[in-house]
């Protein structure tokens, strides 16, 4: 079995490293194509206005993978179209420190990479892990590895990919797995305004996640109950209920 790993934290990030080591131990062939620098919150951005430069990266004298001066979605495009000699059985993005539950799935470069893989027809999983600030990725890596085997074997429907959120707890304290929905949420932003010496204003984004619906089957709720959340996301964003509703508006050209 063959996996492509990427992330939004950069090719040398410890979350990707922990996952790679676990996959190699479990007998996977692993390719790594990841950004050369941190790309948090770039969502599904791609690079149209310049070329993507790539670098071969070694670790401990051995080839680790390709570092791309671009976004996570760029990495997936470039890997699947140009860099890999064989197509992967699964594409995994992460492990990202910091959860991608709820609305974070839109901003997350980690999730953007998994969506990009799904758009190309590859089975794809994005993985994020809750704090604490010093991360132990070992349980998350082991769970992800097992899930990847299951996905490669059982397949996802075309256009579906998974966003996995894992509590930041030792293995023995994880209470279960919930196949969950994306929590309805938003950021309660609190921009901090700075006035520069020239009188110009600049704003720093800060804020907390505000949960709007804490349904029992949502990813946020699963995490709060010390359970792993596995959320299947869809590449078709059409709101079919609204399609029916809007047809009654009888819009004129």
């Amino acid at each position: 079995m063959r996996a492509l790993l990427t992330n939004d934290d950069g090719i040398l990030a410890p979350g990707l490293g922990a996952l790679r080591r676990q996959m190699l131990r479990d007998g996977w062939e692993v390719d790594v194509v990841a950004p050369d620098s941190e790309q948090s919150a770039v969502g599904h951005a791609i690079t149209l206005r310049g070329p993507l430069t790539i670098q071969k990266v070694n670790e401990g004298g051995a080839f680790l993978g390709y570092a791309v001066a671009g976004t996570p979605a760029d990495c997936v495009k470039l890997a699947l179209r140009c860099l890999l000699s064989e197509p992967p059985d699964v594409v995994i993005s992460g492990i990202n420190p910091g959860l991608n539950t709820g609305v974070a799935a839109f901003y997350s470069g980690t999730v953007g990479a998994a969506r990009e893989a799904a758009l190309s027809g590859a089975p794809a999983i994005a993985v994020s892990l809750a704090g604490p600030s010093h991360f132990d990725f070992s349980y998350a890596a082991e769970f992800t590895c097992r899930l990847a085997s299951t996905v490669a074997e059982r397949r996802l429907t075309e256009g579906t990919y998974l966003s996995v959120s894992i509590p930041g707890l030792p293995r023995g304290q994880i209470k279960g797995v919930v196949v969950a929905s994306q929590t309805r949420s938003r950021y309660r932003e609190a921009f901090e305004c700075e006035v520069g010496p020239d009188g110009g204003e600049s704003y720093w984004l800060a804020g907390d996640l505000e949960v709007l619906d804490d349904l029992e089957d949502s990813d946020h709720n699963a995490i709060s109950r010390d359970m792993v959340a596995v959320v299947p996301l869809h590449c078709d964003m059409t709101d079919y209920k609204a399609v029916k509703l809007l047809r009654k508006w009888r819009l004129k050209p």
Copy 2:
């Protein structure tokens, strides 16, 4: 009625200007908060690693709006939280030259801005217009204005926003309006590889949209029949069919 306008082409882009003039003619109050530079294909990216600087921009001696050194989604956050004195009845992103049908809705900064507005609970519309290369935005602006009035009056369900794609044709040749779904599609990428003087490789992204399902009610199909496509998109990406399916996998922690 009050509208917030933004885009991904920059505050001085002609598509935004044409829409603003039409809205003012139709009696709307218009606020403009838009990127200070082109931000195509940034998707739903936001700026976490630096402050957002803003500038007041005048046009013909009168205040036009705020230019933000950030992404379209940043503009919407900053407008709704900090810059506007009154909340808008509708947020409109565009008019973007170049269609956001199908998979383009994921990469599009125009659509990202509308989604950001929807996440904040504001009625939101993203608008794109097909070529030719010299754009006449007048019909698109007029249609958008009428649609904005309808949306402000009839309301969308919370978490739903609209992506509107308009054929690049004179008014009289537009054959109708389809409330459509997002076309299942992908880019058939053809990266062009350059080898630099140091032997390093760099890749330029090129490629065409490949339509995977050309359903009659899809946005791509509507455009090909010279009709305006109005696609309601949803902020909940959960694939509920897959939720049911994956529960049968009985995943273990």
